[in-house]
């Protein structure tokens, strides 16, 4: 299992900082221009909207599981059908959300060992359920508990952004998955999550990156490029030698090795602009 805390939205609970503070302190005055601040603010906003979909799914699921518990019984897959109207609504409402649902912790449900109540948008604008073979005797992919989108919220109790990664379990797409833990009476019950396909993310972000004066890209806490307007450093490549996790924790723009690094405030992505 991979468990890099770097993927967790470390600044999730911090109040937004005043952009005017960015020119001071140890950073040179040129670090974090207002255009760069605008880019990270928009990216923050879009992914926060996706996290809203996750939060609603989490709230619906927690309420549902609490209701079932109050009836003195354990939940089954049939109970999760009540989540569907909300999931369908979220899929159609947010263009960045291509998959959304609740992934049960193994053993939560009485009728199956494991379950994803997961819905995806289709090319023609409809929605469809994801039906996976989760029988360990038939499928080598039946155990989903080691994926970052499941393990990080479970292990940290906090929301997380997993990826970019190739999602060969659910969508076959290069994706970001945003997720948050669902608990019932203080016990971990699974995760609520939403998928953002990288091609859609790039479609939204690229016009912004291209407006910046130097070659620009967005990288995650591990330095993996999530979207790029720099032909030499495309999505999926690694930017090595820089501690992006530290930049995210610092919460303010810094200059390093001819690069300007501008962290998003609430999601773990860093805008990297070539200053040369």
């Amino acid at each position: 299992m991979s468990s890099s805390p770097g993927l967790v939205g470390t600044a999730a609970t911090a109040p937004p900082r005043d952009a005017s503070a960015d020119g001071g302190g140890t950073a040179p005055a040129t670090v974090g221009t207002s255009r760069e601040q605008r880019v990270v603010a928009l990216v923050d906003g879009w992914l926060e909207a996706v996290f809203d979909a996750v939060a609603q799914t989490r709230a619906d699921t927690a309420a549902l599981l609490a209701r079932v518990a109050a009836e003195g019984r354990r939940p089954a897959t049939a109970d999760l059908a009540a989540l569907r109207p909300g999931l369908h609504l979220r899929l159609t409402r947010d263009e960045l959300v291509s998959g959304v649902g609740f992934v049960a912790a193994p053993g939560l449900l009485t009728d199956v060992p494991a379950w994803l109540e997961w819905w995806q948008s289709t090319a023609d604008g409809g929605v469809r359920p994801l039906l996976l073979d989760l029988d360990p005797a038939q499928s080598a992919y039946s155990d989903y508990t080691h994926w970052d989108w499941f393990a990080l919220p479970r292990d940290t109790g906090r929301r997380a952004v997993a990826g970019p990664y190739v999602d060969y379990l659910c969508s076959d797409e290069y994706s970001l998955t945003l997720s948050a833990p669902v608990a019932v009476a203080g016990r971990f019950a699974g995760v609520a999550a939403a998928d953002v396909y990288l091609r859609h993310f790039e479609g939204a972000v690229l016009p912004l990156l291209r407006e910046l004066p130097g070659p620009a890209r967005l990288v995650n806490a591990r330095g993996r490029v999530a979207a790029s307007a720099d032909p030499a450093r495309l999505a999926g490549s690694l930017t090595k030698g820089t501690d992006f996790q530290a930049v995210l924790e610092g919460g303010r723009p810094v200059a390093a090795g001819g690069l300007r690094l501008v962290p998003c405030r609430r999601v773990p992505l860093v805008l990297v602009v070539d200053g040369h």
Partner: protein, 245 residues
Amino acid sequence: MKQPTAGGARRAVFAPVDNLARVEAVVHRLSDAIQLGLLADGEQLPGESELAGQLGVSTVTLREALMALRQQGLVITRRGRGGGSFVSLPETPGDERLRVRLRGWTTEELRDLGDHWAALSGAAARLAAERTEPDDLGQLRRTAEELAKAADTATRSRLYGRFHVELAAAAQSARLTREQVALQAEVGALLCLVLGDDEHREEVADRHRSVISAVQDGAHATAGTLAEECVRESTARLVAVRLTL
């Protein structure tokens, strides 16, 4: 000026879609469903025209497919009242069914399959060596260790396939991953025929570990070569089994 190219390749593009390919597709679909237990032993299949309609093939194609399935012993057809086609899980062990399936491959097709697989896994290993950091290798390690411990051949073949799918994912390529998933769906079960041999299982597990090490060290060329060798060795063993049939 652009002239249409002549010759076989162009003719092949506009040739009618091969009926044989459809027959094979139907045979594969139904035999996989039967062997996976999606269609139960003794279950009656829908009538010929209904089944042909559901599968989107002509009744002629369906009849040819049913004939092939009867020859494999997966379907029996009873005439008269209460007649029809019924699923029949043969008494023969899974290995025997797999040998029947392997007999459907020529050595040339197996060689080509191995080339395709080696191309996918070799390319994936090279890219993964550039694009992977230690945290990304956890899944591959877990799969390699599970394979080293797996007792039954079906589990071994599934883990073998999963390793190569995870390798493609580590390359950060959705296309290579999709191709690898499709390839494993085709070849996966056949690998049972060579992974029953503990010695080969050990060899594969060792090779997988070396691929992981090379990827971790960022040694692109070595990682690619090791992944290709691993695939070639298994394909060669599969060809050897085919030649005994």
